[in-house]
């Protein structure tokens, strides 16, 4: 019960920040609506979500989304509706799809390639001859100096 109350309090404060004249009566539904607003682009604005924008179109889109939530549609259905109507452009989170493979994959590829190169470099380093005890002692002395 307490958990539910905390969750509701969280909803309430998310819901409270939208324009009171637009707000839905049910705080849980309003919180869902705002969560969706943050993922939808204001199509005529420079680069804003409809949650932030004061443009008329953003206002209309917010209303459409609220109506759909009130009608009992799921978030996925609403997103699909927006994509059907305005194209993928409307969603701030691009779909994980084949044409977007580079978008989602490139940073991970950099991590993997970088890691691979590091391993390769370490192998190479290990293959080159080990130091003589004399060199080791000199190195230890030098690194001590460096770290001071």
């Amino acid at each position: 019960m307490k958990r539910l109350l905390i969750a509701l309090a969280a909803f309430a404060c998310i819901a409270a920040a939208s324009d009171p004249s637009e707000r839905m009566a049910d705080p849980a539904q309003e919180a869902r609506a705002r969560n969706l607003f943050r993922q939808v682009r204001c199509l005529v604005c420079q680069n804003e979500s409809i949650d932030d924008s004061t443009a008329d179109l953003a206002h209309d889109l917010r209303q459409v989304i609220r109506e759909q939530i009130a009608a009992g549609r799921t978030d996925a259905e609403i997103r699909a509706f927006l994509v059907a109507r305005y194209g993928e452009f409307a969603l701030l989170k691009p779909a994980v799809s084949a044409p977007n493979a580079a978008l989602w994959g490139a940073p991970i590829l950099v991590l993997l390639v970088g890691g691979g190169l590091l391993v390769l470099r370490l192998r190479q380093g290990a293959a080159t001859a080990a130091l003589s005890p004399d060199e080791e002692a000199r190195l230890a002395q030098l690194t001590r100096e460096e770290r001071d």
Binding site: A7, A17, N47, S49, E88, I108, L111, L118, E146, R147
Partner: protein
């Protein structure tokens, strides 16, 4: 007359930059010509100072016969913004860019006495070529001094959102940072031409990297702070293309700072350090192109025609393409440098670089991929904050978790167990802070509590970094004191920067997860709760500004019935451009802020006048801006390290002497 003098000086700077390139290139083997090349570098800088001065003069005196002034200034504008208007437009900002570029050229000539003569001459040649490219673009495609045949009586004014003290100094800082990387770029290309990349070279690029990166940090922070209080919805980072444009060189610069240390101390990774040195300025130029080409929509972009964008793309292609081609040709012959074990400082630095590069790749793809996709199949897509939160943040988290281990490891072969032991206290503190946050702060959020733990982990790690260097708890106390006094500035700088990063992480997580928002239509006399605070709208008055009219709300903020501050948010109307803006009122409460905006006028159900008031309680938000400033301070402290200012031959002697003096 002064305007014509400025226009003449601009062309003179272009000619001098070309002369600088030719003389310096020929001067790599002939000292006399090299000296002439240096003279040309000073001359180009002085000429641009004249141009810049003339431009500011035109703005201050509101000379509307100059197209640039007529389009961007207004007689009613306060003096500061008339001066700042000089770099608020596309043309003016190009002059600022060129001023920085030639200024850094003059700085190479002035501060480069320690450089080998041929490297210095070649760097000046490259720097001159960069200057010539951008100056030619400014002279031929965006002349800031062009006159109007038919001058208007009044100017079109600067966008009121840009009339702000933070934004007046933000572009100069940002540009000094962006363009600072040009020196590193020039030194890299010069070294590639000469074919000598060694520890000494890595040491020479370090001060320039530190300076550029530090200034860029300040510039980005100011821009973020401006967006935070000027755009009026409490956000401080929007993953906007223009923000991303400045963030990419920052990430590359941060990677370069670390890899240059490896090359300097161990002679390892010279190729990679060179690559980063070229990449950092390439991203700076990419940023300049993105902001001006109009290919991306953004809240901050200059409205410019695509033709100019194409020219900038050409400059980017010539400069970066040439440098990378040279790199591809010369890099295979570089020696790989000393070997190292998987657990070592070198490995830690490489991991740092992989993470930062992957993060930069995420920012780059998120910014540019929509354009690529549109070119491929005509489909327009958006990559906004949800994309970056999903990709960029996890990548950085990997880096942040590993960060404190780096300074604990020895070069070449580190001791994993020892490092873990020395970080035991930091780990304990972090886990404790995370659990405490999860238990005490409501609503409970596991991810954000992890973020808080991560912040404390970084803070404690930064302190442990100093502890490790002075061998705290391992050698007798007087020895620790002696070591403490003799610590090089570089060590303090690194620790400070890492500490600042910890503060930022802490602030960002806490603010994002636990901010409280409110929007209410309020009539005078009404009170509403905002978290532990209570906001009361006392009255709304009308204010006559220098170049605007405003409705000003007077709100009292109370906590537990006691007045903690009064807030005066405004809704301003600028008749010159017909725009309306919001002026945020902020109550500073320790690390927290109560942030209030006054919205449009409405009516209550009873028909009384009322206003849409938005209030935000932003806990620990101060840390988001303090952290990066501390990072920049760390950069400045490192920059003041004596070792960076000495020629390599003097290094060990000077270092020892200063250590003895300190002891």
């Amino acid at each position: 007359m002064i305007v014509e003098l400025g226009a003449f000086a601009l062309i003179l700077a272009l000619v001098l930059s070309i002369a600088q390139t030719a003389l310096s290139a020929a001067g790599a083997r002939r000292p006399l010509l090299a000296g002439a090349g240096e003279g040309a570098a000073y001359g180009a800088f002085i000429a641009l100072v004249v141009t810049f001065g003339a431009l500011i003069h035109a703005f201050v005196t509101s000379d509307f016969s100059v197209a640039n002034v007529a389009n961007n200034s207004h007689t009613a504008k306060p003096l500061l913004y008339r001066v700042a208007g000089a770099w608020g437009s596309h043309e003016g900002s190009m002059v600022l860019w060129c001023l920085a570029l030639t200024g850094f050229g003059a700085a190479i000539a002035w501060f480069g006495q320690g450089l080998p003569r041929d490297l210095k001459a070649r760097s000046l040649a490259v720097q001159g070529a960069l200057g010539a490219l951008f100056l030619a673009y400014t002279v031929f495609a965006s002349n800031p001094m062009a006159r109007l045949a038919d001058p208007p009586i009044e100017g079109a004014s600067l966008n009121p959102l840009l009339q702000d003290p933070a934004l007046a100094i933000h572009p100069p800082m940002l540009y000094l940072g962006y363009v600072g990387f040009s020196v590193v770029f020039s030194l890299a290309v010069a070294a590639l031409i000469g074919g000598r990349i060694d520890a000494a070279w890595a040491r020479w690029i370090r001060p320039w990297t530190l300076a550029a990166w530090g200034l860029l940090t300040i510039g980005i922070t100011l821009g973020s702070f401006w967006a935070y209080y000027e755009l009026g919805w409490g956000g401080w980072w929007f993953w906007d293309p223009v923000e991303n444009a400045s963030f990419m060189p920052w990430l590359m610069g941060a990677a370069l700072l670390h890899s240059a240390v490896v090359t300097e101390k161990r002679g390892a990774l010279p190729g990679w350090t060179l690559f980063l040195a070229i990449a950092a300025f390439t991203f700076s130029m990419l940023g300049a192109f993105l902001v001006r080409s109009g290919v991306l929509t953004s809240v901050h972009a200059f409205a410019v025609d695509p033709e100019r964008g194409l020219l900038l793309l050409g400059i980017l292609g010539v400069a970066a393409g040439g440098a990378f081609a040279l790199f591809a040709w010369r890099a295979p012959s570089l020696s790989p440098g000393g070997g190292f074990k998987p657990i070592s400082r070198e490995s830690a630095m490489v991991v740092n670089n992989i993470v930062l590069t992957a993060a930069a790749a995420a920012v780059m793809f998120g910014t540019l991929f929509p354009l690529i996709r549109e070119a491929i199949d005509g489909q327009t897509i958006s990559a906004g904050p949800p994309y970056f939160n999903l990709i960029f943040v996890p990548i950085m988290v990997i880096g942040l978790v590993l960060l404190p281990f780096g300074p604990m490891l020895a070069w070449k072969r580190g001791d994993a167990l020892g490092a873990a032991q020395r970080l035991g206290f930091a780990a304990l503190l972090a886990v404790g802070a995370g659990l405490l946050t999860l238990a005490v702060v409501s609503p409970r959020k596991a991810l954000a509590s992890f973020g808080v733990a991560l912040g404390f982990w970084l803070l404690a790690g930064a302190v442990a970094e100093i502890g490790e260097r002075v061998r705290a708890f391992r050698v007798p106390w007087p020895e620790v004191r002696r070591r403490f006094g003799g610590l090089p500035r570089g060590a303090w700088g690194s620790s400070l920067a890492h500490f600042g990063l910890g503060l930022f992480v802490l602030g960002a997580c806490f603010e994002t997860a636990w901010k409280i928002e409110l929007a209410e239509v309020m009539e005078a006399g009404r009170s509403v709760p905002l978290g532990a605070y209570e906001l009361t709208l006392d009255k709304v008055g009308v204010v006559d500004g220098p170049n605007y009219l405003a409705e000003q709300g007077l709100l009292t903020v109370r906590k537990g019935g006691k007045v903690v501050c009064t807030a005066e948010p405004e809704r301003r109307f600028y008749p010159a451009g017909g725009q309306t803006t919001q002026e945020v009122a902020i109550c500073y409460r320790g690390l927290d802020q109560v942030y209030i905006t006054l919205g449009e006028r409405r009516a209550t159900a009873q028909g009384q006048p009322a206003w849409l008031v938005r209030g935000y309680f932003n806990p620990w938000v101060q840390l988001i801006f303090l952290g990066p400033l501390l990072m920049a301070l760390g950069g400045a402290v490192s920059l003041s390290d004596r070792r960076l200012r000495l020629a390599p031959g003097q290094k060990s002697k000077g270092g020892r002497k200063s250590r003895e003096a300190a002891a």
